[in-house]
Amino acid sequence: MSIDKVKCECGHVNPEGTVLCEACGKPIEGNQHIDGNDKQKLLNMRYDGSARRSQTYNKSIIDKIWSFFSSVKVGVWLIVLALVASAIGTIFPQEQYIPPDAVSRDPAVYYEGTYGIFGKIYYQLGFHHLYSSWWYMLLIALIGISLVICSLDRFVPLYKALKRQKAKRHETFLNRQRLYSKTENVTQEEKEKVIARLKKQRYKVRDENGHILAEKGRFSRWGPYVNHIGLIIILLAAILRMTPLLFSDDYVWVREGQRIVIPSTDGEYYIENKDFILETWDPEEAGGKFKDALEKQGAVAKNYQTNAVIYKKKGDSIPGEEPDLEKVTEGEIRLNQPLKFDKYTLYQSGYQQNEFTSMAFNILRSDAKDEEYKNLTFKLHTTDEENDKTLGTFTIDLNDQKEVYKLDNGFRVQVEEYYPDYYLEGGKPESHSDKPRNPAFVFFVSPPDSDKSETSFVGLDGSISAAGEDSQYQLDIEDYKLKGELGTFKIDLNEPKSEYELNNGTRVVIDEYYPDYAEEDGQAISKSKYPRNPAFELSVYPPDSDKAEKSFVGIGKNDPMTKGNQYRLGLAGYELHDVSGIQVKKDYTLPFFILGAIIFMIGVVQGMYWHHRRIWIHPKDNGLLVAAHTNKNWFGIKKDIEKAIEGTNINMVVDQQELED
């Protein structure tokens, strides 16, 4: 390309590949094919006809790569490919959603086994972990590169072209604008008037020897590039997320009462779960407004909460050693209200209810038919929840009851009523029979040195005080013994012992323990280590015998394994606990995402709500030419011109594109 073509007749030297002279706008001969101006009446004003260099230099390999990425067409194709790939990635579940009960959770087996040949291809192409498959990441990276290069390659020439533009434009430039008019006779006064009105409309007016350029809103042209900067920051933030230094995301299950190491903290922090709380909406709440909906829907959760204590390891201990822990913080982790410490944030994000903490069994003579109670042990304590104090215990032998039980500290409990086989009829307590199958009592509780007494009703299901909320003392059944009972024992499922010895010499040996019992091919197995459905194979050695009586006991399961057992086992009680699922997150990259998103949005607003408008006035003979260009909202710029030329002789601009159509 010779220099002549680049140098315009106005004297301005344009960069190679320029379509419209940067200064005067005259179409540069020989370059009109670039923006497709050849056979058009109107000029393509894209990037103001500036030289996108990628379109011209293709000599070295670097230039070739550059011009490849500089193409918007390539960019659009990359985005389309990424979209199609993302869509395909939703056909079968991603690998983290392979159901836990799948025959094999190995993706290599699962996809082919479940979806046949398509599943196999899906897996082999890496669609099963789309977002971390190398080609998908490469695609996104290429989009990022395309974004950077496209922007650079357009912003720089456009900026220069707009900076170098002159008020005096070539006639061909003007009459090939979309909005154009020619007026034969215009007075200087009228021209002044128009300029003044344009200034009033906040146009920046430049006057070069009578040639006028009125321009406003140029900064709106930078909107797309600002927007791209935002996008690039977001992409960079996504890359930063990949270093464990700035970002980590982990999950831990903590049982109530348990204290374990928090993963992804290098073994530095420990969490203790004090309590997990799940509250549901009370139908009576909010004046019963949602009563019907709640009845229809069932319980609706109101609060998920874990009361947690965080500890930090002190000193250097090797993992496995009992660590020296120091309390760091304590708090309530609620949904959307995380607990923060150091650089970590803990979110409440899962729970499991009703894992077993302990199970108590009683050993009964096989011939003991109906369960009849032999004695009951009561505990008297204060109702103050904050400061619950045990005041004393006493045992009632149901065969030999006393009228008043005196406690060591002076409290007296008087038996007012006794229902051996209690039931409720019409709100009144009654007894089915005189057999103590479901004993219940009405007691008068009197503190020492006082004649005043509190009345309370105590049964196996709980206790009710007549004084209601004002009551100070509460009686609960702490323990009981059945008739024909050899004894009871309690298995702590956190630390089950292999053998339990009862007072009377009876021994119980745990032969097998299945914390999460299930049957597989007729065999007892445990599905996990968590005591969700505990079951035992127990051997009972009665005091006078060396022969083991074996039984299999679990929840809703009680089968003798040896014949002729003299004793049977019964579930006498159990304690439950909940498990909290806590998400452990460390994220230093979030501010970058926010920054990127803000810049992105600024760019969008900048480009959308402001318009770049230019009006040229070109004196010719006694009259003048008016031409105008805007990047959007042609109606608006026409209005501006109308206002400016009102009451003058100047012809209103004509939309030449409309004429063509």
Partner: protein
Amino acid sequence: MTERKIGPNKKKKKRNRLIFRSIILAILLVAVVYALVSNLSKDETKIDTGDQAPDFTLEQVNANNELESIKLSDLKGKGVMLNFWATYCKPCEAEMPYMEKLYPAYKDKGIEIVAVSLDATQLVIDRFIDKYDLTFPVLHDTKSQVMDQYGVGPIPSTFFINPDGEVVEIVEGALTLDKLEGYLQQIAPK
């Protein structure tokens, strides 16, 4: 302006442009390579082959073993097969007899098999040891500390550590008798 004047100027411009483009492309390339490499090298375990096996100490569960607790660093000079398992895990159960079968012979060759159980209670481990008559040391990771340290995901996971304390091989999933023997030979002291 004459052509002669434009000549060197243009050359300089061209060179500047090439440098500018090369720098931008190089920066982008570095970012992309970093993103890909750091993502693809994200393995299931935190420990890679070639790393030094991190030290730990755990209580011994096995009743008929003379040691009360085992500290990994005390086993330096011996090849160590570090196996993570649990009683409820079927593939773990399947490979236990192989380990027991090979243990006496390889113990004499200077290899220690250390099985770290991730179970919740000791009772189930005791019963398991009785069932399979295990003689190699079985440790109990009560607070999931060692599991966290080694980044163990699904079990069984086995780390083969050479006499210098370096992880030579990581096997995720069950081992066959042949494979196990091959790995043990790999870590035997010379």
